[in-house]
Every structure is written in C-alpha cells, then in structure tokens.
C-alpha cells in the first residue's frame, strides 16, 4: 500500500518537473539552478559520463591520457628504448681520454672491465608505504597546512635556496636548521641530515654512501618527496663512485620518485590530503590529528605504482645516444643490460653507462665519445666525454646563449646533460650577461 503511494508521488514529481521544463522551453525562459538541485545535476552528469565511458571501452576506444599517463617505468622497457636503428656506421675504438669531467667522478677509465655488468641489488620493487599508518605519517610530513607549507617542502626549499659554496655564516643555514628542527618526531633523520648540512656548511667531504644513508633516513620516516630526492641527486652527482654504487643510488632514487608520482596521481583521483595543524596553546583534544586522508588513497597509490615513472626524471633533460661499438652496458632501475652496436639509448639522469672494454657512443650533433674499459658515465659527466669538436660545439652554443641568442638556448635544452657543466662555468663567469638568466633556468631544469 505504502509502496503504491510512493510510486504515485514519484510519478507526479517527475511529471511536474517535465511540465516545468516544457513550459520553460516553450516560453524561452531560463532559471537559475538552485543550490539544492546542483548536486543532483552533477550526479546525473557523472552517471552519463560513466555510462559513456563504459560504452567507449566496450567499443575499444582509448581513454585520454597525458604525458604522465601510461608511462614506461624504467626497468621494464629498456627493450623499447634500445630499439635498433639502421644507418649507424661502426666506429673503431678511439682514445679520447683527454676529456675532463665536471666533477670528482671520471678518472675510472683505468680500471679494467670485468665483463659482467655490476648491477646493484635493490630488493623487491613494491610500493613502499606498507599500511595506512605509514601513509598517515607520510601525509603529515608532506601536506601543506592551511597557513604553512609542508615541513618536507620547507626543508627542501631551505636547502635549495642556500647557494652553492655558501659560507658558514650565510643566513640561509639558519633557515635550514629551523626546518630540520621542525621535524621533531624524526630523531634519526634529523641527526643524519644535520651532519650533511654541517658537511656542506664547513666544506667537509661526503661520499656516495653518505647520500645513500640520507635517502635511507628519509624513507625510514617515511618521507617520500620529489624535491628532497632531487636535492640528493644533485648533491651526489659529482661524488666519486663505482658503477654499482652509482647505480644503486640512482635506482633507489628512481623508485623513490616513482612512489612520489604514484602518490600524486592517487591524490588527483581521490582528492587531496588536508591538514590543519593544532595552534592553540591548550593541549589538543585526545585523538586530534588535523589530518584528513581521503579514503582509498593507499589503494589507488598502490595500483598506480607499477605503471608510474619517475616524472620529469624519466622524460626530461635526457641525451639521445647511439651505440657504435659493443661492450657498453646500461644500468637502469637496478638492472644491467648490454647495448648492441646500432642501438639507440636515451641517457636519463637516473642512468649509468658502464663500459666493460673500450667503447664508442655517438650523438647525432655532438659526434663521438669514447669510454675506456671500466668507465662509468652518467648524465652529470657525459659532456666531458665527447671529442674536442663536440665540446667546442657546446662551448660555442653556450657562449651564444649567454649573449642572448634564443635559438642557441633552445639547442642547449636538447643536450642539457652534455652542456650543463659548460653552462655552469659560463654563468659563473658572467652572471649578469643578457642570456645568463635563461641559462640559469636551463640549469634548474637539469638539477631538479
């Protein structure tokens, strides 16, 4: 009986709605959407889109995807990137060992290759935040408060704003210390990073093992943050290291950045994490966290992780090379693969090239570069490996860009790994030149 009335009421309401719409149609009238009806319309639109999406998928149409969508996580697809190309001539082994590196790396060519690629052991590749508790701890570190940026962001910003070679009295250091002190719950992390800050401040030496320890301290918190990971990459890049050590750090950084990427994508789906710090002088009520993590975030991040790449670290500031002779291995994401003559490889900032014997690689514009047996090459020091003609081309282009030549600036962007050292030298020499600000922007694109 009751059901009958409900049906009648629903029918009458639908009829009234249809009549109202019809009357408005006929009269050409338009009405403002009331705030109560707005969610209903949104829901209806959502349903229509959902049904359309299902129908499209059934018909086999592709979903829209951006640059960050359907990426190719490293370690799963080198085969595609190393697709063989034709038309490459074979080159003999040339001795180009006059090349000097931009860093403390780069005198390792004398070591003999072993013939077996020195791949690091990174362990299983799983999404690093194990449970909701870990997710909450991470969220608390990386989420902006309504009036304050996230503590991780503040630390990364403070560290990056201290100029290279800044004296111990630089006021930027106090900002760094304050940002570290704000991480009250992270004793081990603070001690480790404070030691790093002290080393930087006083010009102390650090090793690649120190960089790995800094990363481990971050991840133990768990603090996954692309800005801090980028900072670590930049600090570690000039430090001397064996191929395996270098590949281990870069492989771990790659996983770290992929986790950040998966978390970013997940938040775009589920909605952002919100956080309001407790500001009253009185103690917060029991159980107060101020944190609102959207439901489903962990599951979404986990599902994205296998297909997430390292963002700009995977796709930008790269150098395209062709392999001219055998004996070169690519160490990427914890895996080592031999490269065949004729293959093309995109050298990313997270990759290592290792030569088991003297070998030659070629860049379409910059020409040949030679690697001695046991050579370890990364995006940081690749520029110095090119023959004199290639290095001269870079020098000329940097000089032109510093003079304000926009075409030269564009050209440099395409060869950033090969050019960044020369750019650094050029802007240090003439910081106020017309094109120096543009060159500094390019450096930002390489360093982060």
């Amino acid at each position: 009986m009751k059901r009958w009335w409900v049906d009648l009421w629903a029918f009458a309401a639908a009829l009234a709605l249809a009549a109202a719409v019809l009357l408005r149609w006929r009269g050409g009238q338009v009405a403002l959407l009331s705030s109560t009806a707005a969610p209903a319309i949104r829901l209806l639109a959502l349903l229509v889109v959902f049904v359309q999406g299902c129908a499209d998928r059934l018909r086999g149409r592709e979903e829209p995807a951006g640059q960050g969508a359907a990426p190719r996580p490293a370690g799963q697809d080198e085969g595609q990137e190393m697709a063989e190309t034709t038309g490459l001539s074979q080159h003999g082994e040339k001795d180009l060992s006059d090349a000097t590196g931009p860093s403390e790396q780069g005198d390792e060519d004398s070591a003999m290759g072993t013939g077996s690629p020195p791949a690091p052991a990174l362990g299983p590749d799983v999404f690093p935040l194990a449970d909701e508790a870990a997710l909450n701890r991470w969220a608390r570190l990386v989420t902006d408060d309504a009036s304050l940026p996230a503590r991780a962001k503040q630390l990364a910003l403070a560290l990056l704003l201290v100029p290279e070679g800044a004296p111990a009295q630089d006021p930027g250091w106090s900002q760094v210390t304050a940002s570290l002190d704000a991480l009250t719950e992270a004793q081990v992390f603070r001690a480790r990073w404070q030691a790093h800050v002290e080393a930087r401040r006083t010009g102390g030496k650090e090793t690649i093992a120190d960089a790995l320890a800094l990363l481990a301290a971050m991840e133990a918190l768990p603090l996954y943050h692309a800005g801090l990971a980028g900072y670590l990459w930049r600090r570690a890049a000039p430090l001397p290291a064996s191929a395996t050590e270098r590949a281990e750090l870069l492989g771990r950084l790659e996983r770290h950045l992929r986790a950040c990427e998966a978390l970013r994508r997940a938040q775009f789906e589920t909605g952002p994490i919100e956080f309001t710090a407790w500001r009253s002088k009185a103690a917060p009520p029991a159980g107060y966290s101020g944190l609102r993590v959207p439901p489903g975030l962990l599951a979404a991040a986990r599902s994205h992780y296998p297909n997430s790449d390292a963002g700009t670290w995977a796709t930008q500031a790269t150098l395209d090379l062709a392999v001219a002779t055998p004996g070169v291995h690519l160490l990427r994401a914890g895996q080592a693969k031999p490269l065949q003559p004729g293959q093309r490889v995109t050298l990313r900032r997270l990759d290592v090239l290792w030569a088991e014997r003297p070998a030659t690689l070629r860049h379409d514009e910059l020409g040949d570069m030679s690697l001695g047996a046991g050579a370890v090459v990364t995006a940081w020091d690749v520029g110095a490996r090119f023959a004199a003609a290639g290095r001269e081309l870079v020098r000329e282009r940097v000089a032109a860009a510093r003079g304000g030549d926009a075409t030269a600036l564009k050209g440099l962007e395409a060869i950033l790994p090969a050019a960044h050292a020369e750019i650094r030298r050029a802007v240090a020499e003439q910081a106020q030149a017309a094109g120096s600000p543009g060159l500094r922007t390019l450096l930002e694109l390489f360093d982060m």
Binding site: I41, G53, P64, L160, G227, G271, P295, T441
Partner: protein, 352 residues
C-alpha cells in the same frame, strides 16, 4: 558515506572536463543556469602605472565609471541575489578609488567574500581596511627581479612596494597572498632568478599568468612568449611545485591529464560559465577583455541577475562552437593564441 564520496570524487576527478561538459548540456536542455562562483569587478580604469601588458589598458579614469551607489545596488546587491559569489575587485588600480573602503565594508556586511588584484603600491595606506576586512585572496603583481620589474612597470620602487604589500597583507591576516607574475617574452627566461625572491617574500603561492594580447597588451603582441619559452616555463613550474605552491594560471589552458603537474585543480575555463567580469562602466563581459563587442549587457540597463541568466548562451551550449570548449582559455582563443598546445606539447593534445 565517506567511502561513497571518495568513489564519486575518484570518478569525477578522472573525468572532470567530460562531466563538466555533460552537465552543461544537461543544464542547457533543462533551461537551467549555474550560479556564478566569482564575479570580477574592474573598479576603475585609473592606474598610476603604465605596464605594456595591461589587459585592461589602464591609465586614466574611464568616462562614466560606476558611482558608489551604483556599485552597491547594481553590483553588490545583485551578487547577493545571485547566491553570493566571490567578489573579486581588480582594475586599473582598485585602491585609487576613493570609495573602495566603503564598498568593501558594504560587501562584507552583505556576507560576500572578497578578493583583489593590485600592484601593491597603495596597500600600506589601506592597512586599517585590510585589518578590518582581510580579503580571502590578494594577488600582487611581481614581474621580475627588482631591475626588471621596475623597468617593466615604469616606476622605480614598484618592486619594493609590491614586496611590502605582500608583507602588509599577511600581517593583516589575509589567508592567501599570491605573487602574480605575467609571463611575457621578456621575463619568461628570468623566472629562475625570480623564484628565490618570491619564496622569501612571504607570499603563500606564486601564480604564473600568461600574457594575453588584450587591452594595452594588444599593442605589444611581441610580448607573447615563444613556444620554447612556454614549454620551458611549464617545465620549470612543474619542478618548482615540489618546493613552493606554484600554479600555472588559467590563461595557459588545459594540459588535460597532465594538469596534475601544474595546478591543484583540473582546468576549466569559467568565462560565462561560473564567472564573469563587470567593466568599470558596467558592461558585463565573459572575462577581462576591453572589447565591448563581447559585452552581454550593461548593469545600468539590465540587472546582473538577468544578464547572467539569459546571457552567455554561447558559453553554455554544447557542440563545436567558438566558446563551447571549456578546456581552452577563451581569452587566448579569441586572440588566436593557441598557447595550450605550445606549452604542453603535442602529446597533451591527445590528452585533451
């Protein structure tokens, strides 16, 4: 319930532009119109600076600017009737209007949230007003480091004044102060030098606007950044978002699925759909253009409610019409300035 909301958000976030378009079609079919979320009022055409990129071509006071009473009745009261959208006051330089404190006080008394765009030079003089009625958002223009900013704005000291304004507004309790930079060919490659200044300024975020050849900007089309510059700035902004709250503003258009790298919310052009602009003389426009052919009516002739409800149909109808693509910035599109594709590259073309 929470889980249900989470699922809805997931569905919505994945397909926000599609949902938006479908909703637009539904509303059109049902003869319904959304309420505006924000209404921007060009308080005056007066400005004491003469920036070459000025979209409102500001300088002298325009003939027939709305009087105080007209603003209170025709703008503020009508906005209340429209459901209290955010009242965004821009210019020219709004703080050159003698009655601005009265208008702000009245709007606040009516329960309107307010926001403003200013060059910042007069902010300290209005400290009492800001303390009493802090805007929910204040955008202060910052075009470059000191030399570049002062040169571009044509006044020595304007950079220092902008930085002082940011500090003052924060002290007055403005919850979000945005340092706004209009990216032009002149400053696109200098943003690396500006970043530390913005980060240390006390601003909560950095909005990177994009030059549009509107107003005085139409006389300086050479200020349009090159495609390479657009790409570099987008790449730069994406990286800096890890360190600071940087956003590519709406003039950049949609990056499709890649919007997540550049902004907090997926892009949708609000012109005529959820926002409109009231010119200094009462013309109601879809966005900040000085081209009166785009006007949907004048407040002195028809109430804002009526103009909003019956006007802007070209923005609210579905199909491949001039203004129906909510993924493009209408302002750029009407000037034939396809910066979206240039900035975000060919692969993003597929994404949208």
């Amino acid at each position: 319930m929470l889980a249900g909301m989470g699922l809805l958000h997931r569905l919505y976030a994945r397909a926000a532009p599609e949902v938006w378009e479908t909703e637009t079609r539904l509303l059109h079919a049902l003869r319904l119109v959304r309420r505006p979320v924000a209404v921007q009022w060009i308080a005056t055409n007066m400005c004491d600076l003469r920036c070459p990129h000025c979209y409102s071509g500001a300088g002298k006071r325009a003939v027939g600017e709305l009087t105080t009473q007209e603003v209170l009745r025709l703008v503020v009261d009508e906005m209340v009737a429209l459901g209290k959208p955010t009242f965004v006051i821009a210019g020219g330089e709004l703080l050159l209007r003698q009655d601005i404190a009265e208008i702000v006080a009245y709007a606040r008394a009516q329960g309107l949230e307010w926001a403003m765009h200013t060059h910042g030079g007069h902010v300290p003089k209005f400290r009492a007003m800001f303390e009493r009625h802090p805007p929910t958002l204040a955008a202060i223009s910052l075009d470059g480091e000191q030399r570049q900013h002062d040169l571009f704005r044509g006044r020595r000291g304007s950079h220092a004044a902008a930085l002082a304004a940011i500090r003052t507004l924060k002290e007055c309790g403005c919850p979000e102060v945005v340092a706004g930079t209009t990216v032009t060919r002149d400053n696109a490659d200098r943003l690396a030098d500006l970043f530390p200044i913005v980060a240390a300024s006390g601003a909560d975020s950095w909005g990177l606007h994009l030059f549009a050849p509107e107003g005085r900007g139409a006389e300086h089309t050479a200020l349009c950044p090159t495609p390479e510059q657009l790409q570099r700035v987008a790449a730069f902004a994406r990286r800096k978002r890890e360190l600071f709250h940087v956003e590519l503003c709406n003039e950049w258009g949609s990056a499709g699925a890649d919007d997540r790298f550049y902004r907090d919310q997926p892009f949708l052009c609000g012109a005529g759909r959820i926002s409109c602009v009231i010119g200094a003389t009462g013309e109601v426009l879809p966005c900040t253009t000085t081209d009166l052919r785009e006007s949907e009516g004048n407040l002195r002739e028809r109430p804002l409610r009526d103009i909003w409800t019956r006007g802007f149909t070209r923005f609210r109808t579905a199909g491949p019409r001039e203004c129906s693509d909510g993924r493009e910035c209408w302002l750029q599109a009407r000037n034939g300035n396809p910066c979206r594709e240039q900035a975000f590259g060919a692969c993003r073309k597929e994404a949208v």
